[in-house]
Symmetry: C2
DNA sequence: GAAGATTGAGGCTTCAATCTTA
DNA sequence: TAAGATTGAAGCCTCAATCTTC
């Protein structure tokens, strides 16, 4: 009846699994708290705005945006409604396909993203990247990519990952003051 | 006004961050889906039951249970209400401290956990552990523990992590068939 | 007054159903 | 009929307020 019982985790596996699942459970909360407090954005909203910024003409079809932010279409649609109500994005029917909708970053949306980037970047550094050595950074990337190959076989998530791209060019507004 | 802008991520950092955040976003959904489908439990409920199983007398104060499952007290209280309604746990006032509440695993709760473990273990193996080499496993543990040291300074989460402990001794019901 | 815990309201995500266009 | 997207209901989490006991 029960499928042949998989063998239990050995000590090494147990350590790795425990710490990985802890990070996975804790990290989203850390990011959400900081962004919400300092910029009034959830981490998902932040990634969404970042994905639009990275897109040609700062515009993306809803389906493409959902793939890049790893969201279901209903989830994206709801969040997009809120962001549109706040004036941070705009939605227009796609000229080429009557079924599709294009979402684009507004000026206010771009400004909100610019304002959020430095604080988020500081958090990512202090809470994650700066806690491990350069070697560990490489090792972490390797392991995470391997796991992703399994749980995200189509590699949708990594595609021009918005938060990363946004983080990679936050200098623009830094010299304004 | 803006704090001095942190420097952007270099390529190595960007890779690590992108993949890590992707895993953190995707993994909980993978675990929840499998457990919900095969055992009617969320991953959080699974961890909660596992924490009780590992506790002396399969009983824990709500505060202690919250710490071990990394939950806020309100969250735990809501989930506990549902689990109690389903007969999987029981709550009784603590004899030693009138303010406290003890939660304990019921027989049905233990059975539900037993039934859930093999499938969960198989998922953990196939989706995560088996996708990386033994070396990467060690490296992943090291990096994740370092990050945890920062985002979970009190180490609450790791304390007798339920899912791990449960996974470490699932043989009991395996030989019954 | 502080600690342990519960409750209720509000917000977000999920799921199924729906609508429109290709 | 399928693809793209939206909507509404239901469930879960968060936050603030509350209640009881120390």
């Amino acid at each position: 009846m029960t499928e042949s019982a998989p063998r239990p985790l050995d000590e090494s596996e147990s350590r790795a699994w425990t710490s990985l699942i802890a990070v996975a459970e804790l990290l989203p909360g850390v990011l959400d708290s900081q962004l919400q407090r300092d910029a009034g954005l959830s981490h998902f909203e932040y990634m969404l705005l970042g994905a639009l910024r990275d897109a040609p003409n700062e515009t993306l079809r809803m389906t493409a945006l959902a793939a890049r932010t790893n969201a279901t279409l209903p989830r994206l649609s709801h969040v997009a409604s809120r962001l549109e109500r706040r004036g941070l994005i705009a939605r227009r029917p796609c000229p080429e396909d009557g079924r599709a909708t294009n979402a684009s970053l507004t000026e206010a949306g771009g400004a909100a993203l610019d304002a959020a980037v430095p604080g988020h970047l500081a958090t990512v550094r202090s809470q994650v990247l700066d806690t491990i050595s350069p070697e560990q950074l490489e090792q972490l990337a390797g392991a995470a990519e391997a796991i992703l190959g399994r749980i995200d076989p189509f590699g949708r998530f990594g595609t021009a990952c918005p938060s990363t791209s946004a983080l990679a060019q936050p200098d623009e507004q830094a010299e304004a003051s």
